[in-house]
Amino acid sequence: MSMTILTVDDSRTMREMLRMVLSDAGFRVVEADDGINGLEKLRAEPPDVIITDINMPRLDGFGFIDEVRRDAQHRAVPILVLTTESDAEKKARARRAGATGWIVKPFHPGKLLEAIRRVAA
């Protein structure tokens, strides 16, 4: 069975890019446009990997990761954070909140898939 990946990003462009690369690689993709919707999707359909943006309305990436880790059921789901090169401080904060790894935007499709392989079986 193919892995399900939840992408959480308020940018449609970014979600579409992720979807294109991920579905081409055979993953099932579920999308959410902010942290709150991300949590809803997560509960409706537990993913194998989560890819989340940081800057989002309503509930940002830090809050989202924190909330995911708080839920015993999802403590072990790998979470990759989408960051830009200059987001060093954010990367650190995301890691403290419980992020598993990060993908630097703009991402290279190969790097994205490699990052996923590195955190998920």
Binding site: D10, S86, A88, R96, T100, K105, P109
Partner: protein, 710 residues
């Protein structure tokens, strides 16, 4: 990546940019007006951040560079490093305009000469005196999270004989000890070891010496340590890359060769890493608490304005659906007609099924039309830029207020609103609003005001542009009309009739054509473009107090609730939206007026009675109202009129077929439709019919022949 998929994502990106730009602008305007809600600033920041993110993905480098500087300034505003001020919002609004231009240029495959916006970049950078420093600090901090490249060239040389195999592959020894935090973040040692196995031949030994007896075992603690002997063609960088995500969550030692102990000199990182971890772990609890509180605040409000999920579809698909449903509605009507012809009883099961089918068809039709409906917001928001630019160019101070931005109207109507609105706003500011000195002299506030509003009224959307300027200079308009031969020098015209003159082709009151309102188009072009949308434009002006332009447009260009009537043997359709009531005229309610005009007493008011057949030229003399039906209608200007028709046939929804596209423009006729029996029926343009009878429009009609002769 497939090209068409990329093209599609690019389209999404630009569509999204439009939304982000609107968000950016409205947010900045709110901030300029004193809004200090952190969420407003956040939204503005996110808008630029998203534009930058996508631009980076497509390598739109100019856009990335500009948005990066803009984003940095916004981030400083967001974090409170700099404060909002009129000067700041002014620069940011200029930056917003620039980024909008960059997006447009990029979308069209062009570019903007960077020197043209260098001043904006400089001003953005100047907003934060420490901006440069902050940037550097940021980059420095970044190093902590990228793989630290340490040169092992010397070590390689030293250990050369022991670190390289006979076939030239590198030998490494790796000691990997995860920390508790690594597992907490859902990283798995097993996956990392597997990844190591993929870059070379790995001999892995697990060291479980720290594993306690079962009753002392903390299931979330990390007890295991691995020693790996790796033979690989890759360098140490490749190994570090495997551990990139967990660099700070493990003790990691790597040294060349397959000896058991690391050479003492080559391990500066081990100390740094473990020392760093201690405070990080200690901080964890405190941060988690602080962030939990932070989050509690953040989570609470969202439920209130949870956005409904959306999907995006190409407009072509929706239009195909609209067309098909139009055909379905017509077919439905034909089917109903056949039923009647076949003598099917109204209450019979088959007729009831057809009724149900009819109800469903309308339901589908309404739903599809609702898909095409969009709030006028997108157009309105663009107008703030127009106002800013024109105000800046004319040296006037103008404030734009908007109302009813969420009023919805068909997408096609929206798409065609930008040009006329832009032109009218330019006019309002250029000709209407006085200079600050003049305004102060007549006791007005130095800042002029323009109000743009939208509302739904009798099945149409009414858009008003009101300014508090000088109003129309009627003396001057009259003078010009006489000069141009539009009216006779002694013509008797009411104020309204003079105001209407500005819609005449080529008419311009500006003493010289300014490069703003001028641009070679007059209000007649605006009127034509509004009329092409099935709309109308009117003006009301008070000298010294300002002018109000009123646009009235149909909500949709595809369907109409109509009343089918019979006039002089012709079948016509009257839009239901304009009908107030229908009545049978009685002799004592009729009054004669002049030679041919008639009046009728309806609802306690004397109303002009217009014979539609006479007006449209189907008959030569006024029909006898007795025995006919009177339909009381309301024009979008609020005036009432009584229309005389021979009989009412039925009331139904009709699909509008454009006459202009298929035939040509006919005064008094708005469009056509196909009826259930397959015949074509014309849809009456009620306002034009009324206007042809009385009121200000009439004078325009009278003037037209003059203009022809001129």
């Amino acid at each position: 990546m497939a090209d068409d998929a990329l093209t599609h994502i690019k389209q999404t990106y630009f569509a999204e940019c439009e939304e982000q730009l609107a968000e950016l602008e409205s947010g900045l305007i709110a901030i300029a007006d004193g809004d200090r809600d952190p969420e407003t600033i956040n939204a503005v920041f996110r808008a630029v951040h998203s534009i930058k993110g996508g631009a980076g993905a497509f390598h739109f480098d100019d856009l990335v560079r500009f948005s990066h500087v803009f984003e940095t300034a916004l981030d400083n505003l967001r974090s409170g490093r700099i404060e909002a001020s009129p000067a700041l919002t002014k620069v940011m609004l200029r930056a917003a305009d620039t980024i909008a231009d960059l997006v447009t240029a990029t979308r069209e495959g062009g570019a903007i000469e960077p020197s043209s916006y260098q001043s904006v970049l400089d001003e953005l950078a100047a907003l934060d005196a420490n901006g440069g420093e902050a940037e550097e600090a940021d980059e420095f901090a970044d190093l902590g999270f990228e793989p630290i490249v340490v040169s092992f060239d010397d070590a390689d040389m030293d250990a050369a004989d022991g670190a390289v195999t006979a076939d030239g592959r590198n030998l490494f020894t790796i000691v990997f000890k995860p920390l508790r935090s690594m597992y907490r973040n859902a990283n798995e040692a097993g996956l990392l070891l597997r990844a190591l196995g993929q870059i070379g031949d790995a001999e892995i030994i697990c060291d479980d010496a720290e594993l306690p007896v079962l009753q002392d075992l903390d299931p979330e603690e990390s007890y295991l340590r691995w020693r790996i002997r790796l033979t690989t063609e890759d360098s140490e960088d490749a190994i570090r890359h495997v551990f990139e995500f967990v660099e700070d969550d493990c003790d990691l030692q790597i040294w060349p060769g397959h000896c058991d102990e690391p050479p003492a000199a080559v391990d500066p990182l081990a100390f740094l890493t473990s020392a760093d971890d201690l405070p990080a772990i200690a901080q964890d609890g405190a941060l988690a608490n602080a962030e939990a509180q932070d989050r509690a605040v953040k989570i609470a409000p969202p439920i209130v304005h949870a956005a409904a999920p959306t999907i995006r579809v190409e407009i072509d698909r929706v239009d195909r659906l609209v067309d098909l449903i139009g055909e379905l509605v017509i077919n439905q009507a034909m089917l109903a007609q056949r039923f009647v012809e076949l003598g099917v009883e109204r209450g019979s099961p088959v007729a009831l099924s057809l009724d149900e089918h009819d109800r469903l068809t309308r339901g589908i039709q309404n739903s599809v039309m609702a898909i095409r409906a969009q709030p006028v917001k997108s157009v309105f928001q663009r107008m703030s830029r127009v106002v800013r630019e024109v105000a800046a160019m004319t040296g006037k101070s103008v404030r734009l207020d908007m109302e009813g931005e969420n009023t919805e109207v068909d997408k096609t109507v929206i798409e065609h609103l930008t040009d006329p609105l832009t032109h009218m706003l330019r006019n309002a500011i250029d000709h209407g609003i006085e200079s600050p000195e003049k305004r102060l002299a007549v006791g007005k506030r130095a800042e002029g005001s323009v109000r743009l509003s939208a509302t739904h009224r009798s099945g149409r959307i009414i858009i008003e542009i009101a300014d508090d300027g000088a109003g129309i200079d009627r003396g001057r308009v009259r003078e010009m009309a006489v000069d141009k031969g539009l009216i006779a020098h002694d013509a008797l015209l009411s104020d309204e009739e003079i105001d209407e003159l500005i819609f005449h082709p080529g008419f311009s009151t500006a003493k010289e054509v300014s490069n703003l309102s001028g641009r070679g188009v007059g209000m007649d072009v605006v009127r034509k473009s509004i009329q092409a949308l099935g709309g109308r434009i009117g003006i009301a002006s008070r000298p010294g107090h300002g002018s109000i332009f009123t646009l009235s447009l149909p909500l949709t260009l595809a369907v109409l609730d109509g009343m089918i009537v019979k006039v002089a043997g012709e079948t016509l359709v009257l839009p239901l939206a304009s009908i107030v009531e229908t009545l049978q005229p009685k002799a004592d309610s009729l009054r004669g007026f002049g030679v041919e005009d008639k009046l009728i007493l309806a609802r306690g008011a004397v109303t002009p009675l217009i014979d539609v057949g006479l007006r449209l030229g189907y008959r030569a003399v006024h029909a006898d109202p007795l025995g006919c039906v009177v339909i009381l209608v309301e024009s979008e200007r609020g005036g009432r009129c009584a229309l005389l028709v021979d009989a009412i046939l039925e009331q139904r929804q009709i699909v509008i077929k454009s006459l202009e596209k298929n035939y040509g423009l006919i005064p008094g006729i708005a469009a056509a439709t196909i009826l259930g029996d397959g015949r074509v029926a014309l849809i009456v343009d009620v306002d034009a019919v009324i206007a042809g009878h009385a009121g200000p429009h009439q004078s325009v009609q009278r003037i037209q022949p003059l203009q022809v002769s001129a």
